[in-house]
Amino acid sequence: MELLINLTINGLATGMLIFLLASGLTLIFGLMSVLNFAHGGLFAWGAYSGVWFYSLTGSFFLGILGAILTGAILGFITEKLIITPVYGNHVQQILITLGFMLVLTEMLKVVWGPNQIAAKVPPYLAGSYEFGDVLIIKYRLFIIFVGFLIFGIFQYMLQKTKIGLVVRAGVMNKEMVQALGINIKRVFLYVFMTGAALAALGGVLFAPYSGVIYAEMGFEFAILAFIVVVIGGMGSFSGSLSAAILVGLAGSYMAYYVPALSLAVNMMLMAIVLIFRPQGLFTAKG
């Protein structure tokens, strides 16, 4: 029983981290059909910059803020320098964002060195709760809490605010949004920056969770995020939460019961979804 609970919590926590990465990716794709292969790089930058701010200020909270800010700034640069010049050309987009991913990853090593960096859980989040016989690690609960909080905030914004309406409308029909007098490119820039900030948030939360950070982590998580985006449906925000949880849980259970298959299962899931249901599992529209 304890094992099952812990596996579930673990899976949920990983799922939330993937969700933070995938939610931005999916909205960016839905809005402008841009698939950003550099998104994982922003995740890694979030982790490094967050840990750096944390060690500098001694406050984990400031570390998180620093990561979010770094993510938003990098998002701005990416959109202006990398995405804008190749709007509409898919092949160029794929090529250039992958190239930028490479640059982002290597830049990390230039700034912070090529070795792994240790990251600590802040004291007030360290340790675990005891529920009867069951021990639950605090920090994992914290990640799950933040994940649901972010989902709640963004879901509210998407459903209830004007900018959220515009984003949803843009995902459905971007020509019409423009014909109604809205500068969709600016909306897209905001979404891109927000998506980058979310990815960076995911990165900094991941750091104490895994204990170490390394430059290639961006790429590893990006693959999971792509899987989630495909399973959840391109452009679907809530779909990406369900899919991220699914992928997180599957990874967690598999890693324990059938370790050889843990990563393979998710990839196979994605392949099957792409081949038989390319619009995603969690989208209603056929």
Partner: protein
């Protein structure tokens, strides 16, 4: 036109001859090894360009076929016997495997749109990497294993010549391939898939065959690579290999066959020199950044790469001189 055409051919023959003579006049071991490496990666990059440049498909899973060749050869030389015959047989087996697998993967995935295809190839090649890491009895995972190369290759020069011969053969074969009616349809698919379909060609059919050809040749490059190192580990299946092929193709020039070869040369040489410089200036340890930046600039400003841009300039100058209109050109070089 006719004379220029032949001039190019002479130039190629001269370069190849120079390369054949090179190891006999120079006894630089470093250069022999470096050039061998360039030949092998040229083969890989050319195969990648069949997808990217000629058919307009972005695959992030090309390392899968390279790795398949590398492992097939390594395992067969290690487990059975390190002879020349086994080496040739293993190349054949690797190519067959790569051909079959690229055929089935292509059939299932090539109908997808570019984004999805790129993601899926990324995932599938990831699967192969995981497979290789878990199947330790065969591959010994990330630690890898060493093996003996056939006696004939004890002399590095022999292997150098074999790699060069493979490069020339692959080049000649691919040039025929892309200039054939089949190759023309591939370019048509790249330019306008809808229209190609309406002309009665099934784009999927052509894309699948292009990906089989690319996969088979990448496997050959992998076989040679394994023998050149006499060692193999899972790094042959990683994204780095695909990235190398991508950088070489983009920087050298997509949609040409010479481009990837030039790109392979430029990148391998630069890697060699820059990592030499790194001993004094640590920034050069991150040499890949420079290529990343050059690559990004190339995608935006020189999408035709070195060879394509040079050709374009020559072409412009020529058409300016005689005032004739540019004609869509055949693959000359």
């Amino acid at each position: 036109m006719k004379r220029k055409f032949q001039l190019n051919h002479y130039l190629l023959v001269v370069i190849v001859l120079a390369l054949v003579i090179f190891p006999f006049v120079s006894d630089s071991r470093t250069w022999t090894i470096l050039l061998t490496q360039i030949f092998i990666f040229s083969i890989l990059a050319m195969s990648y360009d069949i997808l990217l440049g000629y058919t307009g498909i972005v695959s992030f899973g090309h390392a899968m076929f390279f790795g398949m060749g590398a492992y097939t050869t390594a395992v067969m030389l290690k487990r059975i016997e390190p002879t020349m015959g086994m080496f040739i047989l293993s190349i054949g087996v690797g190519m067959l495997l790569a051909g079959l697998i690229s055929f089935f993967i292509g059939l299932l995935t090539l109908r997808l749109k570019s984004h999805f295809f790129a993601m899926l190839t990324l995932a599938v090649s990831g699967l192969f990497l995981v497979l290789a890491e878990k199947w330790r009895t065969l591959t010994q995972g990330n630690d890898g294993f060493t093996f003996k190369a056939p006696e004939f290759f004890k002399d590095r020069v022999m292997f150098y010549l074999v790699a060069l011969a493979c490069l020339v053969l692959v080049y000649l074969f691919l040039r025929r391939f892309v200039n054939s009616p089949f190759g023309r349809v591939l370019v048509a698919v790249r330019e306008n898939e809808q229209r190609t379909r309406s002309l009665g060609f099934n784009p999927l059919h052509y894309k699948v065959i292009a990906s089989v050809v690319a996969g088979v040749i990448a496997s050959l490059a992998g076989s040679l690579y394994a023998v050149s190192l006499r060692f193999v580990n899972t790094s042959v299946l990683t994204m780095d290999i695909t990235l190398d092929a991508l950088l070489m193709t983009i920087i050298g020039g997509v949609g040409t066959l010479i481009g990837p070869i030039v790109g392979a040369g430029v990148i391998e040489l630069a890697q060699h020199y820059l990592s030499g410089l790194a001993k004094e200036y640590p920034i050069f340890e991150r040499w890949i950044i420079f290529f990343g930046i050059v690559y990004i600039l190339a995608v935006v400003f020189f999408p035709r790469g070195i060879v394509g841009t040079v050709r374009e300039q020559i072409w412009k100058r020529k058409t300016k001189k005689d005032g004739s209109k540019p004609v869509p050109k055949k693959e000359v070089l």
